[in-house]
Amino acid sequence: MTLDLKKIAESYRAKVEDRRVIVCAGTACVANGALKLIDALKAEIEKAGISVRVDVHEENKTKKDMYLSKSGCHGFCQQGPLVTILPEDIFYVRVKPEDAAEIVEKTLKNHQIIDRLLFIEPADGKHAKSHDDIVFYKRQKRVSLKESGYICPEDIEEYISEGGYEGAKKAITSMTPDEICKLMLDSGLRGRGGAGFPTGKKWQFTLVNKSDVKYVVCNADEGDPGAFMDRSVMEGNPHAVIEGMLIAAKAIEATNGYIYCRAEYPLAVKRVRKAIEDARSLGILGKNVFGAGLSFDIEVMEGAGAFVCGEETALIHSIEGQRGMPTPKPPFPAKSGLFGKPTVINNVETLACVPLIMRNGAEWFKKLGSPTSAGTKTFALTGHVANTGLVEVPFGTTLREIIFNIGGGVTDDQGKPMPDGFKAVQIGGPSGACLTPEHLDIPIDFDTVKAYGAIVGSGGLVVMNKTTCMVAVARFFMQFTQSESCGKCVLCREGTKQMLAMLDDIMRGDADEETLVKLEELALAVSQGSLCGLGKTAPNPVLSTLKYFRHEYEAHVIKKKCPAGQCKALCAPEIDPAKCKGCTLCAKKCPVNAIEGAPGKIHKIDSEKCIKCGVCKETCKFGAVI
């Protein structure tokens, strides 16, 4: 018998209250006390004599006055815990349990807005009443993140009431595998995990390889430091991933599914497990799904701490119980993947797009993005930027839009606006590259950024202000890839180690121009010759900074100076004669009497005596110590 999704949706809508208080219960908001906030809200609401429902499926069928629910991540974590109140659509930020009484009294009972809990735009200091009034959200195009932050991720019925699983039902009951593959191909959907391979094509390649057992694997091993869009989707809308996998299963004639999730995301694991159970109990997973003969079930496996397992062959070996060491391709997983069977591996975000394409059509999706990269992409915007968080925008959006409009501009270390402070943005995580002010207006899509030596990757965007040393940035990423290299192929294993050693030499002042030549030659060999994607892209942070910030490297090795003043060993201070007023303050503070100069006269630092403690720089009121 076919499952009647419409009926489930109707019955859900009939029982849920219009008045609703939604508290974000993503990882970050929970860390900030969201669960305590929920308890406080519940207590206060009940104290006020209002009946409140906390679980929409509770036995008592009578309608309550309101529904207090949890949601997944809104992607605006620094402002958490976040509270949304419906139907007015009031959006409160940084809410504390102590605020509960006031919210109940003023907003829930008397429909008043509490100004102090609203978000204040950093640009103009104005209060934003609802989610969509905030520039950070207003300028985004939230498609795959739309439901996260609104629906209850632990409630399959609510997902269904939003049209969920209709796409899977359509695919499974009325489409052929070829038709589904073609739809994905027509939509222009490309893999969100890094390389941007057309999803439809990947599915077609797997479909043609006949086998009694085939696998759909969801790659949820989001390991890029500074990227958390997959976590957000799994925490906020896990059923979208499952639905995407079901559609993929039909498209490639798969029998089994795996979700390989980072163990660092316990909440995501919990929500996904719950979602699978719920789907199973409705018959959406298991034998004879939607009565159409498809049998498909999903197992969750937690990673054990290896970034390289994001690489698909390594991920396969990890599921097989082995060391996560990549193997050469071909053979591609489409032909010989998990346990030697044809396997499709898609990333979380990619799979979450699939039901939307089913629901809204290929044309709709295609129109969202740029000519070569359809749809939207979620970026994790972090670093020296006013609004950090998840930003979903159509492909083709410029970095300027993301950093300066949505992100609210560049900040200093303390988070204060730094209008001319933009130096670089690191895109694509440890496999990516650093782009510069001159790249701010290029449209971001898979192919454009590639032309600049960068990759979209999983979508990390780290904004860096002018106090950042680009050599140190390259070193940070190299340290990461070096420690995450699986150790199989010599170029990546030894190459990353040697590149790191060279970067250390450069930062310590132990390098010369020859080091840069050597570094570049090594980086090139590693990028061209490594076995897997991790090794091939590991040199990108080095190569891109060498390309766009060569002068900084040269300053380190020739002048033995760190222009950003970050590399301690190279921070011998000097006094700018044009700025020095001869106030003598620095000379007085210098612990080793390395500064000479009489009052009113230009001061000078004796580099022999100087211990590079930086006190003079901190002391100078005129910015004369550089």
Partner: protein, 163 residues
């Protein structure tokens, strides 16, 4: 002591049985065993290898490949300092250094002698909005500073002393 050892080994047997002695389930099996012992003792690895009919060298290879597995006992409190990109640019290393100094640890020694604390760095916990982030067992602490981090450690020390 022996009784306790046997009880734990029995749990290991149950874990292996639950996974049908399937060698391909080695990683979840080791994860569950580590929950029992809080690390992977040598004799338990050998035992598991025999049960699964997987060479001990291979099990050792897997156990040492993945950073979550520990071959030496970990502390009661696992302190993870996130050093993902966002946390790094927001100065996670000073936070780490403060904790290391507070607990008198060093680079090769990240577990206290009383087995109360183990300190680790992790690359990104996906809570970048709260950078820099510190996780003690299951509890996430955001927007850390060296002072705040040491205060969290002190809190635990006080709790433990009160016991």
């Amino acid at each position: 002591m022996t009784g306790q050892t046997d009880a734990k080994l029995e749990q290991v047997c149950k874990i292996i049985e639950k996974h049908h002695s399937d060698g391909s389930k080695l990683i979840p099996i080791l994860q569950e065993i580590q929950e029992v012992y809080r690390y992977l003792p040598e004799e338990v690895i050998d035992f598991t290898a025999r049960k699964l009919k997987v060479p001990a060298a291979q099990v050792y290879g897997v156990a040492t490949f993945y950073s979550h597995f520990a071959l030496t006992p970990k502390g009661k409190y696992l302190v993870k300092v996130c050093n993902g990109t966002a946390c790094h640019v927001k100065k996670s290393i000073p936070v780490l250094n403060a904790i290391v100094e507070k607990l008198k640890l060093s680079e090769g020694k990240m577990t206290t002698d009383d087995l109360l604390f183990t300190v680790e760095t992790v690359s990104c916990l996906g809570a970048c909005g709260l950078a820099p982030v510190l996780v003690i067992n299951e509890d996430v602490h955001g927007m850390m500073t060296p002072t705040k981090a040491v205060a969290e450690i002190d809190k635990i020390l006080a709790q433990e002393a009160a016991k």
